[in-house]
């Protein structure tokens, strides 16, 4: 279990550094991390399935600007590992992921507060024109993030596995069923957050269009994305046509009889 706990901690490091050192590549998403967790714990299939479910729940979980959202990296890795280790599968993962992610996010907040001190340190060296030290300080902030996810993941897997399995066994079925219902409703919250980010009143029909095509025909997502791209280009061309007409008119106007008037 020790080796597995270390490896899972490393997956967490990979996940948290994705946004820090890799420029955001989606390696931190449950879709990827849970598959790796499955691989490490010897049940890749379960990892992929759990990853899909957790990805859906965390879809609207975006870090925009200065806000700190639930820590999906720690949350999904621990939840997925417990689900596989306890043999309880996706439902257990859905139950555990959100509370763990919310708790873990406070560690991220602490790191971001400490980092401000690094920034002050860098200010001092900058005044001396010492680019080497400024660069070094930037890199030094990285390990803080690594520790903030490695430690909780390692400790939970190492020592928490039995506790969590026992807790999961004690919770009444009606409650876990309720949590499963809640988790299948949670993607709606994710969708709502995404809509809130993108929508203006003019754009509501496009959401409806996507919904209706999928609800009535059941065609898959890639098709919708391609249709959506076509729609975007068509709308753009319609807009351009209007522009061109305006340019062409150039202050003059041709009336119905073909006579040019000012």
């Amino acid at each position: 279990m020790f080796i597995q706990a270390v490896l899972l901690g490393c997956v967490a490091i990979l996940g948290v550094m994705d946004g820090r050192w890799m420029g955001i590549t989606m390696v931190d998403r449950p879709l990827v991390t849970c598959s790796l967790v499955g691989l490490i714990l010897g049940d890749l299939q379960a990892g992929i399935l759990i990853g899909a479910s957790l990805e859906l729940i965390f879809l609207g979980n975006v870090a925009i600007g200065a806000s700190t959202p639930p820590d999906i990296v720690t949350g999904s890795i621990i939840a997925c590992a417990f689900a596989i280790l306890s043999g309880k599968g996706t439902e257990a993962a859905l139950t555990l992921a959100m509370p763990i992610a919310v708790m873990a996010s406070y560690l991220g907040v602490i790191v971001r507060i400490i980092n401000a001190q690094f920034q002050h340190l860098a200010d001092g060296y900058a005044k001396q024109g010492n680019s080497k030290m400024v660069a070094r300080i930037h890199v030094l902030a990285g390990p803080l993030y690594m520790i903030s996810v490695f430690v909780p993941v390692f400790l939970c897997i190492m020592f928490g596995s039995d506790v969590v399995t026992n807790i999961l066994n004690v919770i009444p079925i009606k409650i876990t069923d309720g949590l499963t219902i809640a988790s299948s409703l949670l993607p709606a919250l994710g969708f709502a957050l995404l809509i809130n980010m993108m929508i203006s009143k003019k754009l509501i029909p496009f959401y409806a269009l996507g919904f209706l095509i999928a609800a009535y025909s059941g065609i898959d997502l890639i098709a919708i994305a391609l249709i959506g791209t076509c729609v975007a280009f068509i709308i753009n061309q319609l807009g351009n046509n209007n522009d061109n007409n305006d340019d062409h008119n150039d202050g003059t106007y041709i009336n119905e009889n073909g006579i040019e008037v000012l």
Binding site: G23, Q128, G178, N196, G210, A214
Partner: protein, 267 residues
Amino acid sequence: MKEIKLSKKVLNKVFWRAHMIQGSWNYERQMGLGYAWSMMPVLRSLYEEGSPEMAEALQRHLELFNTTPQTATFCLGLSSSMEEENARSKNFPVKSINAMKASLMGPLAGIGDSFFWGTFKVIAAGLGISLAQKGNLLGPILALLAYNIPSELVRYLGMRIGYKTGSTFLEKLSGGLMDKITYGASIVGLMVVGAMTASMINLKIAWAYSPDVTVQGILDTILPQALPLLATGFMYYLIKKKVNVNWILLGTIVVGIIASYLGMFTV
């Protein structure tokens, strides 16, 4: 007067370093230190270590900065060409460098967020989920490809365009091109989110008058997947009413448990 020109190698280094721009993200100056870190190859080839010019340049780029990581390179490219100009001529208005950064980071975040958070991530995740739900390893792999190919392309081109045609490209952007791109990206993103609403929430009403006449059956004849649509619509309404997301989260769990005791839904 010797010719001062940044080599392609130096600019490529900035591109690679830009991947780490969030490495020391903090509440006070956000990507500030990361920005200085990314500019380092340029600063080092223009100014001498320990010189007052270097000190000024370092302090300049430690200022607050924040935008979408993928579009930050555009700003970095533009800063590079401005620093180059600054090293060439003594009369360069140095303050314009940070003024440019401050004025650009908002719009760049706007376009970047709608593209990468609103469109590419949603499409990539959607594709990945639909495959992974069948236990297919291609799910995560396809998601990574679908997201990273456009992501790296934008990051790389942003650097090139920012450095080469910086200001002229900007005029184009402010001339409505940017609005068009964000608008288009929002259309695709919203259609995909709409489709996901219809296909990825599997909640059915369990209540029935008789085995043949179920509430869900009646609902389906009116509008298939009406329940997910209603749920999403209601959540959106709550968000618009400025209800804290954590309360919505908690409320959802409470509703789930109550529904479980009432036997309302089958998942």
